[in-house]
């Protein structure tokens, strides 16, 4: 394993220190670990917080700043952060508007964030958890832990962050987050595995002439392995998986402020159709040259044109990675006016900024 690191135990800390040194608009806390905005936010603004295992950089810490996250809690590499991180972090940035946790749907993340929300709600700090479960590689939720949260997370953090900045309250932010989640679908593939620093070797073996279809962002093996093929064919496979996905219904837990406990809520993602307008993310998994992502975008654009689907906005780059994995994922979020308005709103974070 060759990496630009010092001791394996210090990877997360030193990366946080580097970020804080490079970006004056974020601050870090090391025990417990979280990253938050330096400038004060408007009184009453909902605190938008995310977090998850490290190794997906720039997500989430790179998205802390004006118009996006108030704070992020990094866990160990590929391991959910712990409730005390989220709890301390929320106490630090909560500003009278309550807390919205944006949580990727992995068993670990869900449970840790739920524990934190329980603690905060128990103390009278209104806290809601919204899940992201957009990975169509996971087919059903009856026989699995449900779909994983992947690329839609980036888009949700941007949009809900902008809405919070614009004065949406906790219920409105949560509803918007739900809407974005129900309109997002992603599918990924890998050319190579990644190497977790502590493990020091690839998570899975893959031959020179094979690729893995349907990987997530944790170096976990995907759904199937096929012979390596052209970028156009690979793009078609990913895009087809997204468009072939039918209406998808599942139960997701949310905090019920009346019963003061968790309630299951049905969430339906309608299949994509002709005439839809999309925000598209062509995402590199860490070691994919930008030029190759543009080659994928080119084909995605071509396919969408034949489907009469408009790519209204896009991001092409490495935004939600799996350490040094070679590969890519495609995310499409069906947009509407509200979504586009908040997508276009000013954002100023280390990894995303525009005005």
């Amino acid at each position: 394993m060759k990496k630009l690191i010092n001791k394996v135990e210090d990877v997360i800390t030193e990366q946080m220190e580097g970020m804080a040194a490079a970006h004056t608009n974020i601050k870090i806390n090391l025990d417990p670990k979280y990253v938050w905005r330096s400038e004060e936010t408007k009184k009453g603004k909902v605190a938008i917080i995310s977090g998850g295992g490290s190794g997906h950089e720039p997500m989430h810490a790179g998205f802390v700043g004006f118009g996006m996250l108030d704070a992020a809690c990094p866990g160990e590499v590929f391991t959910s952060p712990t409730p005390d991180q989220m709890y301390e972090c929320a106490k630090k940035v909560e500003n009278g508007g309550g807390v919205l946790f944006l949580v990727k749907n992995y068993t670990g993340d869900v449970m840790n964030f739920e524990m934190a929300a329980e603690m905060l709600n128990g103390e009278g700090i209104k806290t809601q958890n919204i899940l992201i479960d957009d990975d169509v590689a996971v087919k059903d939720s009856l026989y699995t832990a449900g779909r994983r949260g992947v690329g839609t997370t980036v888009i949700m953090e941007k949009i809900v962050g902008a809405a919070a900045e614009a004065g949406y309250n906790l219920e409105q932010c949560a509803a918007l987050a739900e809407k974005v989640n129900s309109r997002g679908r992603s599918m990924g593939m890998a050319l190579t595995s990644c190497i977790v620093p502590a493990a020091g070797k690839p998570n899975f073996d893959i031959a020179e002439d094979e690729i893995e279809i349907g990987v997530g962002i944790h170096g976990e093996p995907g759904r199937k392995r096929i012979p390596h093929t052209t970028a156009d064919e690979i793009t078609s496979i990913l895009v087809d998986a997204i468009f072939d996905d039918k209406d998808y219904s599942r139960l997701l837990r949310e905090w019920d402020f009346n019963t003061n406990g968790w309630e299951e809520k049905e969430m339906v993602s309608k299949a994509f159709a002709s005439g839809d307008k999309m925000i598209a993310l062509v995402n590199g998994l860490g070691s994919t040259p930008l030029s190759e992502l543009y080659c994928v975008y080119r084909k995605l654009d071509e396919i969408c044109k034949t489907k009469n689907v408009e790519l209204s906005r896009n991001l092409v780059g490495s935004y939600i990675t799996a350490l040094d994995m070679q590969g890519c994922s495609i995310t499409l979020v069906r947009a509407d006016e509200e979504i586009l308005k908040f997508w276009d709103a000013t954002v100023n974070t280390p990894a995303l900024h525009w005005a």
Partner: protein, 211 residues
């Protein structure tokens, strides 16, 4: 009446930490087949944290405080799926104990029973889903039986290790429907569950600490 002393519970934690260190690579290897290759690191990190607090834990007033301190430490240091689950197990296990300076088999049973309940409600999994529950639930069942039969603590723990091992191995042929392994569908079959394996090690450590 035969009991488990606080000092023996401390030994249990120390032995568990040692097993997690020794089996770090093994547990991670199991997790790399059907998960994300971190279970060994997670468990080692968590129990090392417990060991780091062992002097403090030794000062615990009673078994409830000891188990609660352990649970809180695991929760705030493991993360992932196993952190809240093991943390909850110890935390909930502590809840039914009140001022006990030592545990009878009855206490242990009640405590584990409540721990298991916590794990199941936190993780919403049940038997046969290829998780740590495939070890923890048979263990609790066995403790219940042993209590009813009036076995000694040693006999009872001997039994728990046996059912824990059987439970652990039973996960090999299961199709995972909870946790990360569930993403693999059919491909999860044929691999032993890492969390079930760490649960087995915890039970093994318990038996060896009491003997």
């Amino acid at each position: 009446m035969e009991t488990i002393k606080l000092s023996q519970l401390i030994t249990w934690l120390e032995k568990t930490a040692k097993y997690m260190q020794e089996n770090k690579e093994y547990l991670t290897e199991l997790d790399s087949a059907i998960g994300d290759a971190d279970h060994g690191f997670n468990m080692e990190r968590g129990f090392n944290k417990v060991i780091g607090k062992i002097e403090e834990l030794k000062q615990s007033e009673d078994a409830a405080a000891l188990l609660k301190g352990t649970g809180m430490t695991l929760i705030s240091s493991i993360g992932g799926a196993s952190g809240p689950l093991y943390g909850t197990f110890f935390l909930q296990a502590s809840m039914v104990l009140k001022g006990n300076k030592e545990l009878t088999l009855e206490d242990l049973k009640a405590s584990f029973e409540n721990g298991l309940k916590g794990v199941k409600s936190r993780g919403r999994a049940s038997l046969g889903e290829k998780t740590m529950i495939d070890v923890l639930e048979p263990v609790v069942t066995s403790l219940v039986t042993s209590t009813e039969k009036g076995l000694t603590i040693n006999e009872a723990l001997e039994n728990t290790v046996n059912v824990a091992e059987t439970g652990m191995k039973s996960t090999i042929n299961m199709l995972a429907t909870k946790g990360r392994a569930s993403y693999l569908g059919e491909r999860s079959v044929g691999h032993q569950d890492p969390g079930a394996t760490s649960s087995y090690l915890i039970l093994k450590a318990l038996k060896e600490s009491i003997n």
